[in-house]
Amino acid sequence: SQQGEEDPQALSIQEGENATMNCSYKTSINNLQWYRQNSGRGLVHLILIRSNEREKHSGRLRVTLDTSKKSSSLLITASRAADTASYFCASRASNTGKLIFGQGTTLQVKP
């Protein structure tokens, strides 16, 4: 498959808890990005981490990248009901411009 792998496929937590999603990819990359999708339509960009970076923060988001394991994780701290959505990682291979998405993790945050 051209797509990366994400786990878990679904995650259900209580408001205030942290949510961790993992992503694996297949080729050498220039960067890896995380996107959020509400209601199965357009995606919104959350954060980008380059291949020479190991960790990046943006508000309540923390992304890590391990190029030796070809994996990344997205941590959402102090989750809110409004964080309920599907989250996708997307990797841009070093030798191509196309962005390949993972299967996604569906997050439900219960109030």
């Binding site: 339509r41 980008l48 996708f88 997307a90 841009r92 411009g97 299967q103």
Partner: protein, 115 residues
Amino acid sequence: GAGVSQSPSNKVTEKGKDVELRCDPISGHTALYWYRQSLGQGLEFLIYFQGNSAPDKSGLPSDRFSAERTGGSVSTLTIQRTQQEDSAVYLCASSLSQGGGEKLFFGSGTQLSVL
């Protein structure tokens, strides 16, 4: 425009008919992508345009699928002789360029239903 615009937002067609899906990217964005998403699934890459370079068509599932980008702006994805398995949301995205603003801006998609 203010964002990526896709039309129509919904399209119902009969098996065997041809359909055209349109994407208006953000003005000035040189890269344009088409993806397909089946219900509850991830995004399947279809095709990628970057400036005046030859498009990357490696994701098109069959020769019934084709796409054009005229004048480096508007793009049209055409599906000929539609099949029921073509039913999905077709998403378009644009970005400034690979070297600078690599993040993608997505349209709201076209929901295609083939009866």
